[in-house]
Symmetry: C2
Subunit: 294 residues, 2 copies
């Protein structure tokens, strides 16, 4: 019994019960090679911190202007030597230029200084894998190209959702005041009230713990109050600018596949032996988005 106590909360990797429903682990074990995709190097971002590397996939189909501007900034080395400025518990980590509002602001080069917000796009035409879920914030939730998303309906608006690990663009009170020079990552319970109010541009696919475990800032909204709290950004690079052997060799499960739908169902109906009252429900931000070494 005591050994079992160490197991406690059984997650994806747990053992299968002798039931007809497969577990998530079994679904993945039975996936086909074609269920997986390799993200394009030009959509990969690498944030190098002193203590580790965080890897992102951009979603330019949702935020073409911001993705292009971020590529310009990253390509020019804009972020290199800047800092993580904010770590708010159960909310976000944010980085950029600590002198952005002063005379010593770093020039943004050929990047656009302000962009219209890309808060939503059109649902028509997008391949939306809807999941059956009552959602507090949206009529329909699901996945598009590997990203969690929501929409009004098939002909309405479509937007990325603020799940754990999503990458967004800081902005001021004006909807068009963001440009990609301040970025944030969701490191807590999904702040879905931000959906459609700020531009999401991608998500973390590796290394989020290097952001999520940062000490929290002592100032309002988790901002670091003095520069000795700042965590330096060593560099930020596009995957296409990295040598092949420095790129993350990873495959991501396609979300428009039968395997993914089976994974969602395996997480909705928990077949693992540990569950005594299987849930038969799932929320969009609790759906895993599996990655594996390529």
């Amino acid at each position: 019994m005591q050994r079992l106590l160490l197991l406690i909360i059984v997650a994806v990797a747990s053992q299968a019960a002798a039931q007809e429903r497969p577990t998530a682990a079994e679904v993945l074990a039975n996936s086909a090679p074609s269920d997986w995709r390799t993200p394009a190097p030009e959509n990969m971002l690498y944030l190098q911190l002193p203590h580790g590397r965080v890897v992102f996939e951009l979603a330019p189909q949702f935020a073409p202007l911001h993705s292009a501007n971020i590529r310009r900034l990253v390509g020019a080395g804009y972020f290199d030597g800047l800092s993580i400025l904010r770590s708010q518990d159960n909310y976000v980590v944010q980085w950029g230029d600590p002198d952005a509002d002063g005379d010593r602001a770093r020039p943004i080069g050929n990047a656009e200084p302000v962009l219209d917000g890309e808060f939503h796009t059109d649902a028509g035409g997008a391949s939306f894998t809807r999941i059956d879920s009552e959602d507090a914030y949206a009529p329909e939730v699901g996945f598009v190209d590997g990203f969690p998303a929501a929409r009004d309906g098939p002909d309405g608006r479509l937007w990325l959702t603020h799940c754990y690990g999503m990458l967004g663009v800081g902005r001021g009170n004006a909807a068009d005041s963001g440009n990609g020079a301040q970025l944030y990552v969701v490191t807590g319970h999904a702040p879905r009230h931000l959906d459609r109010n700020v531009t999401l541009v991608g998500r973390v696919i590796d290394g989020i713990e290097h952001l999520a475990t940062l000490p929290r800032g002592s100032g309002p909204l988790g901002f670091f109050e003095s520069s000795n709290e700042f965590v330096p950004v060593a560099s930020m690079r596009l995957g296409s600018a990295l040598p092949e052997d420095e790129r993350l060799q990873v495959e991501l499960l396609r979300t428009d596949t039968a395997t993914f739908s089976r994974l969602v169902e395996a997480r909705r109906h928990r077949a693992e032996e540990w569950f005594v009252d299987p849930v038969d429900a799932i929320e969009v931000c609790n759906v895993p988005l599996p990655a594996r070494p390529r």
Copy 2:
């Protein structure tokens, strides 16, 4: 504009917009003394770690057997010198006896070795402050005595929900295999699929960052793989066993008040100037549970 970029995501403390709806900050500023309560010392738990202190409020009305057993364990100093054993990203931190399954297991004294799971109770009779929210996991969600909760309906089952910061009791595969000697705290997006499958006994009211920022364990399910990863538990104490001047002097907002209902509405309808597409929705785990110095 650049100064605004530093503001970015405006939370509770944000400025009020010139609108008729109050912000959350305004609701709290207008609260009455009677809207606040002082948690009972016998329901307070203090977890002392090398780097800080985490304070919990127990919810014995939901889990009387487990609360009583935890009081026995804590009262006997059971946790002193044990370890944090697990830190799983976007999930839980867990502590207890690393030798629990071996010959060197620490004796649990007069505590019960196993308890029936207290996974839900009866909704009838409980003061349930329901909130209007579509929920993926439950027919009705709301708050009871300051804790997030869900129920089937007024005469059905009632249970605590796995929101960020909730305190739970680890168990093995058998529903009655938990006893309170292994405890966990939710440190990521609410794993609501655990609701009604494991006993929740309370929540963190102060210092959760000391758990949430712990390095993640490298083993399966975030367990630490070697003892040099363990984080020592210096002590665990009941508030009633601490001298008055060592207790957290705190008041918590009552959740059965008009002020709390106004707070929920202020978070549902975001009046802060930053929001361009106010959300008009809220999820139970995104409702703040304010604390203030007493």
